[in-house]
Symmetry: C2
Subunit: 552 residues, 2 copies
């Protein structure tokens, strides 16, 4: 007799599981339950449909129930909510929302891919009719309908995560004035602060208004407008609010059934994605995963992992022993004209785990170009690479205009292989002028990292300079004189790099020289010259570009 498999949740994780399972096994009986009206929709495309970049609503519906039946012989039951799991009976209780009929369905194997739900904290006034969350097709229809009917002029996005920022961009594209409110001092939490500052500057340059380090105290709705009152007292009048302050896993079903769930509500699974009940698998946003880099437990609500896990769960149901080896949190987002991408651990995560800069990890920080400078449209690219004292790559963050996704994917790949900065130096990446440089930015990150790890140059980071004793240092600007016209570090003296060999006797050997240039490259060359001539010298990472971003 063939197996009977029930799957709860019909989008990224669930739909992928059933498609793969059918390919592996023609005989198994498969029922897919989805409480919403739609399965297999492109969650990630929703902001772009609202903004008009994706024109056709139909394009969002990647697979439809009837097609799923025909192609994969799946019994798809939309508007059917699974209410309860009777583990002892191996049955679930289902509410057919079409009819109100509540029924039971038996299983040999149960799969949970129920996803997550956007948080809606009990802020006063949160139920105003122009406050929305974006999570699924009905949400999308509501927001798009509201925008088309009411022609709002102003929007406030609460929450500076990637969905919030994608919405900000898309509403801006529709001509709305957009303000972003974020409780933390930065948007895009996977970035460290100095990287997020580049994003802040970009959003503001596009006309976006940022309220950082400020939370919403309350919403006041009056005459079709909402006033967003912040903790700081600031009040923003707006026609529309998008709430995007995080998600929580839909794990009540699992919890009620007595399955192990962590304190954040994540369903606990083993490396085969099996829950604490061997007949029940779980995947996607709702589960706890192993952080591939630091090996702690974490939760990473992203589509890539959900899709991969779906394929693994199907494989395991079909009797193939497939392991899920953890999530590294590789992500990318388009934010207006820039791209922001991360993989692995950032400094904040490492610090939270008690890891310390210089004792446990080091940083290679470069501003470079997307491709060879002599080929048109070589655009700025900033890479922050974090590695341990043996050189093992722990994480990377990239912000830029072009080629960001490429470099993060290369670094994500290197991390998957447990790669070191020595490997990065060696990577033989494709070069022709429209695409890269003969030394790709990833190689360059490796070179810079090696120089630091070898002790050939001592870096100094943006957050270390406040601790310097002004009496004991010289701030040396090795840019050309004309470059100082766009600004310079207060108190710095200027010796252009190319004059340094001849003029170094102007410098006091008893002091520590903090050297800087525009981005860090000339500073490094200068530091090498000085160091070999007996000076104590530190190169300011990121140069004046970073300094200006953070302090001017």
């Amino acid at each position: 007799m063939s197996k009977k498999v029930l799957v709860v949740g019909g989008v990224a994780g669930g739909a992928t599981t059933v498609a793969r399972l059918r390919r592996l096994d023609e005989d198994v009986e498969i029922i897919l339950f989805e409480r919403g009206e739609y399965i297999s929709f492109a969650n990630c495309g929703l902001p772009y449909y609202i903004g008009g970049t994706i024109e056709s609503r139909d394009a969002l519906l990647v697979q439809k129930p009837e097609a799923m039946k025909k192609r994969f012989n799946i019994d798809v039951r939309t508007k059917n909510e699974v209410l309860k799991i009777y583990r002892d009976d191996k049955e679930v209780e289902v509410n057919d929302l079409n009819t109100g009929n509540i029924y039971r369905e038996s299983y040999d194997i149960l799969v949970l891919s129920p996803g997550s739900t956007p948080l809606k904290t009990p802020i006063p006034g949160i139920d105003a009719p122009n406050i929305f969350s974006l999570w699924n097709i009905p949400d999308t229809d509501t927001i798009k309908g509201y925008v088309e009917k009411k022609c709002p002029k102003k929007a406030v996005v609460v929450g500076g995560g990637f969905i919030g920022l994608e919405m900000a961009e898309n509403l801006h594209a529709l001509g709305l004035e957009v303000s972003i409110v974020e409780m933390l001092n930065q948007v895009m939490a996977p970035l460290d602060f100095e990287m997020a500052e580049i994003v802040h500057e970009h959003i503001e340059s596009k006309g976006g208004e940022l309220h950082l380090g400020d939370g919403v105290k309350k919403f006041e709705y009056k005459d079709g407008k909402t006033y967003v009152i912040l903790q700081s007292g600031i009040s923003i009048e707006t026609d529309l609010v998008i709430l995007s302050i995080g998600v929580r896993p839909n794990s009540q079903l699992a919890k009620d059934a007595g399955l192990d769930v962590n304190e954040r509500g994540g369903i606990v699974v083993d490396e085969y994605l099996r829950t604490s009940d061997r007949n029940i698998y779980a995947l996607g946003d709702a589960i706890e995963v192993v952080d591939f880099v630091n090996e702690n437990k974490t939760m990473v609500p992203l589509a890539g992992p959900a899709n991969k896990q779906g394929r693994i769960v199907a494989g395991n149901i079909a009797g193939r022993n497939e392991k899920y080896n953890g999530t590294q949190g590789t992500s990318v987002a388009k934010i207006f004209d820039i791209t922001v991408a991360t993989t692995g651990n950032n400094e904040k995560t490492l610090n939270r785990l008690g890891k310390k800069y210089k004792e446990d990890y080091l940083i290679s920080f470069i501003h470079t170009k997307s491709h060879a400078g002599y080929y048109p449209q070589a655009l700025p690219l900033t890479i922050k690479l974090i590695f341990d004292l043996k050189g093992k790559v722990l994480g990377a963050q990239i912000v830029g205009y072009d080629g960001v996704d490429k470099r993060i994917d290369v670094l994500a790949t290197a991390i998957r292989f447990g790669g070191t900065i020595y490997d990065l130096k060696e990577l033989e990446l494709a070069y022709a002028p429209p695409y890269s440089s003969a030394k790709d930015p990833v190689n360059m990150s490796g070179f810079v990292a090696e120089n630091i790890l070898n002790g050939d140059v001592e870096p100094i980071l943006w957050n270390e300079i406040k601790d310097l004793d002004k009496e004991k240092i010289i701030i040396l600007d090795v840019r050309e004189e004309v470059e100082r016209e766009i600004g310079y570090v207060e108190g710095s003296i200027n010796i252009p790099l190319d004059e340094l060999r001849d003029r170094m006797d102007e410098l006091d050997k008893d002091k520590t020289i903090i050297i800087y240039c525009a981005i860090g490259l000339r500073g490094y060359i200068g530091a090498r010259i000085l160091k070999q001539n007996g000076f104590k010298v530190k190169n300011f990472c990121g140069g004046f570009t970073t300094y200006k971003n953070l302090f001017c």
Copy 2:
């Protein structure tokens, strides 16, 4: 006393060596000899300057002699040709082409980065005044000057390698009618034939004329025009010829000095890039390298390796033990609107080494999209992945419009780490709709490879179908009926995939079913259905898209 280092060749390899060496060691005396007028120029940018994409000639000169002196304290001697190496005396003989003065210079360490020279075979008429090669700045000036002065209407490019095709594109951009003559049956030798066919089609769609499998017999120059007479008898009238038929290493100097040189003229070096004389290093186009994948000796004239080798040579001179671990031949080229990229070994190379399809390696071949289909401008991307029977990735070829360079870099990285197709499945690459799909094309290549390796589906390649016994097979088209309007395989029957489960009794179980769809995906799903129902079935790789490309 400090060391004295002489470097022969002042561009990619040589200039990088001296810059890094100076950073490592302030004291060493460094002299850089360059027989040409320019050092550190952007070879790779030359075609784009001729075509006008790069506007400023000055942009091509990445570093100039005076700047190199000031910044790196290098004694740069342009128009100084090294004529001879006196290894016993540790001296070189130099011709100062500025003065005609011939002098000697001693060394502790000598570095050879003399590059290569474009081949100019003794074809009758090859010295006509409108036949050019492109290799350096003077060549560029000559060609650009000729184009500007003579306003040629037609050009013939002899040789379909990447430089030839870049020139074809750039001359086309200037409004010339371009023909390409190539002795092999395909352009872009690093591609296998079926991949090159995509390039052929694209070039023709852009108005380029291709003469494949045809060599030049002679050139006849008359009244400012050259007639290119091919072996086939075809005569092409043209105003301009670009010769780009390959390169040979500039290794005469090394050979004359008794250094080991291979039969193709490549200077033999050890893993530290030392020649057979421990005091002489060599790098760049002129050396023999180890093929990173098959471990045989080969020659790979590319800028990325030359630059990396330069850094290693400098390190070794400075007493750091750095190894060069071989070249995998990662490359990319923009050819009109498409991008072509390769890494590792192609099938031709494997076959030349005696490796056989199915016995030694397998192939995953997919047509996919650059990013999520529902986001605008998702463009075709074709990936050919070659892996051995344990799953180890041996090579990849990609042709497409967007995101080609990204995927080749990810695959190149995986190859560097000795990765398998199982690793490719797992790679956690960055996904948001503008950049990729939740299952990135690289993951997808891994999935397809796994299905083949596991025996879940038996693929059949384009070059296997001619051997089929028509009596023993059924060609089954599982596309929708309407799709057959754009063409179909002669003799195929049509059962749309979604009807297959109901209609499979129309098929004869004694025959082998060759299934195909548009790209291979539905064919695979159909193959799984049939196989599990007891049919013998093979899925045609690349589907009708590939079939049409090759046979229609």
